[in-house]
């Protein structure tokens, strides 16, 4: 049994082709970016945030799994781990943001006169911004490194309960650290696009967004892998139902937080808070917001209520892909209106760049995914799953 379960994935030339296609798309965008650097960096920030969302969301879900000890994530654990191992790539992908800092962030330009921004300059200044960015990635990388290292040790089959406890302990502390770092990172990279504005829910909104993205992505990957050799032997409708329920939870939590922020700011109607929503309701962005409510909340919410939708791989895949797509639309809605509300239009680069970066990210992810067996066969909880699988043939 364990021999067939430990066979790695063989994808041959697929990662290379993806990386090539992604690189070509990126190169076209860079060439166009020479002419209009502002537009390039707007799109680049969106692409970066979307793919970092999967990377960090995988890290968070992985830690949640280690901490709660649930069986629900054993089948997607290697997908999550490969997701966290894309962090070095995302760290490199963060560098162009430094080059585009003056274009993206109005507070980083010299000669500020606004008293609000001047008061915030001890935090919002280019040097400290870079230091913090390095700090976030160092912390995330440390967490991902040890979670992967110990998981690899577990694969050798010698380590026992002690290793499990260590993974659990690190995940407990790691989740708290993740909460703080993502909150500050979201303030630095996105909220400070509009430096006069602030919201205390913002960090949580990002965390849930990342978890939602990573969950939808993991489900998509699992459906794709579920008819290949090691996973086809253990994956059953019940596991898809569990993951679908988890997706439903995140969809609801995301909607709840989005609405909480909206209700508080709408109710307060204060001049330093409400412009954020006014910019996001002007022109085309009002329609995009409505689209988000319908396609990112109502559709997945009602569909995922049905057991049949969650148990059938095809319907679950459609919902997961819808959620993934709407995560990108949500990024447009969060980021783009910051540069001028209703006057900002969606450009071809806003679509091309996320896909270009995605090609490279996905190729790197697949390369990482192939480096370890697709199932954590030596995890103590794995026995139950394989036993059930044998029983059901």
């Amino acid at each position: 049994m364990s021999e067939t379960m430990e066979t790695p994935l063989n994808l041959e030339a697929l990662p290379m082709r993806l990386a090539l296609a992604g690189a070509v798309l990126m190169a076209i965008c860079v060439a166009a970016g020479v002419a209009d650097s502002a537009e390039f960096f707007h799109s680049y920030l969106i692409a970066f945030l979307f793919w970092l969302g999967i990377t960090l969301g995988s890290l968070a879900l992985l830690m949640v799994q280690h901490l709660t000890g649930g069986r629900w994530a054993l089948v997607i654990r290697r997908i999550l781990e490969a997701g966290t191992r894309t962090l070095p790539l995302m760290a490199i992908a963060a560098l162009p943001l430094l080059a585009g800092m003056k274009t993206l962030y109005s507070w980083s330009r010299p000669g500020q006169t606004d008293p609000v921004i001047l008061a915030k300059q001890s935090y919002l200044n280019p040097e400290f911004f870079i230091v913090r960015m390095v700090f976030y990635f160092a912390i995330w990388f440390t967490l991902a490194y040890f979670l992967n290292k110990w998981s690899r040790q577990e694969d050798s089959g010698e380590a026992g309960l002690a290793l499990w406890m260590r993974l659990e302990g690190l995940s407990g502390i790691g989740l708290v650290i993740y909460g703080f770092t993502v909150t500050f990172a979201s303030i630095d990279w996105v909220m400070s696009l509009e430096p006069q504005w602030y919201s205390t829910i913002y960090g949580l909104l990002f965390m849930v967004g990342q978890a939602l993205t990573a969950m939808a992505f993991s489900i998509t990957m699992l459906v794709w892998l579920s008819n290949r050799k090691p996973l086809s032997q253990v994956v059953r409708p019940a596991q898809f139902q569990d993951l679908g329920s988890f997706l439903l939870t995140f969809v609801m939590l995301w909607a709840y937080l989005e609405f909480s922020q909206f209700l508080i700011i709408w109710g307060g109607n204060l001049s330093d808070e409400i412009p954020w929503y006014i910019r996001r309701m002007e022109g085309v962005w009002g329609h995009v917001g409505l689209l988000l409510v319908i396609l990112s909340f109502f559709f997945p919410f009602f569909l995922l209520l049905f057991r049949h939708v969650k148990q059938r791989t095809r319907s679950l895949l459609i919902v997961a892909l819808l959620v993934l797509m709407m995560r990108l639309v949500d990024m447009y809605w969060m980021v783009l209106p910051a540069f001028g509300g209703g006057n900002v239009r969606l450009t071809w680069m806003d679509v091309a760049l996320p896909f270009g970066m995605g090609g490279i990210w996905f190729a790197y992810f697949l390369w990482q995914l192939q480096r370890m067996p697709l199932l954590p066969v030596h995890d103590p909880r794995m026995e139950e799953i394989t036993a059930q699988a044998v029983e059901h043939g």
């Binding site: 019940a238 609405f259 909206f262 209700l263 709408w266 109710g267 109607n269």
Partner: protein, 179 residues
């Protein structure tokens, strides 16, 4: 019809969940429809094996939730915009975003109440007396034994034939259930 008055059904006792599952499948395949299975823990596939059908409870819950949402919203709309309109900080009378939390709570309240009371109404609980407890060993159903019951109401039920059929399922024993 005479059997109806003297007996509730036949009960077979099994020692493992696999036996019960297999027995339930065979019983259903043999054409029996008024059957019931008892186990100390949920067994995957058992509900399907005894031919458990879907109930209308989800529909009741959905309707109750919609009534809750409608009445919750209407209560606030009527109070704030029709019956006693007050201008609060220049906001519209029909301040729908502010009405959402209460509307949501009312949806949950109505749906949850409908789920609980609808469940009780449809499954007949609480039932102070049930014939299956007349089988002396039935108390083990909450510990480590597994039971399958074919009710006398089943059109195919015949005391002797059904007993013979049940004995082919390899039970530990088959006992009659007094009404």
């Amino acid at each position: 019809m005479k059997q109806l008055e003297t007996i509730y059904g036949l009960m077979a006792e099994f020692t493992t969940p696999e036996q019960l599952l297999e027995a339930a499948r065979q019983t259903h395949d043999a054409g029996y429809r008024r059957i019931d299975a008892f186990a100390p823990f949920p067994i995957e596939g058992l509900a399907h094996a005894v031919g458990f059908h879907r109930t209308r409870l989800p529909l009741v819950v959905l309707l109750a939730g919609m009534v809750g949402a409608g009445s919750g919203f209407f209560l606030q709309y009527y109070a704030a915009a029709v019956s006693y309109p007050i201008n609060v900080g220049g906001r519209p009378m029909n301040s729908w975003p502010a009405f959402i939390p209460v509307t949501f709570e009312m949806t949950i309240l109505f749906a949850a109440a409908a789920a609980v009371f609808g469940m009780l109404a449809m499954n007949g609980l609480p039932t102070p007396y049930h014939p299956v407890f007349n089988v002396p060993r039935f108390a083990l159903a909450s510990r480590d034994r597994f039971f399958l019951c074919i009710k006398a109401r089943d059109p195919m039920f015949d005391l002797e034939l059904t007993r013979k059929f049940m004995l082919t399922l390899n039970p530990r024993e088959v006992s009659e259930i007094e009404p």
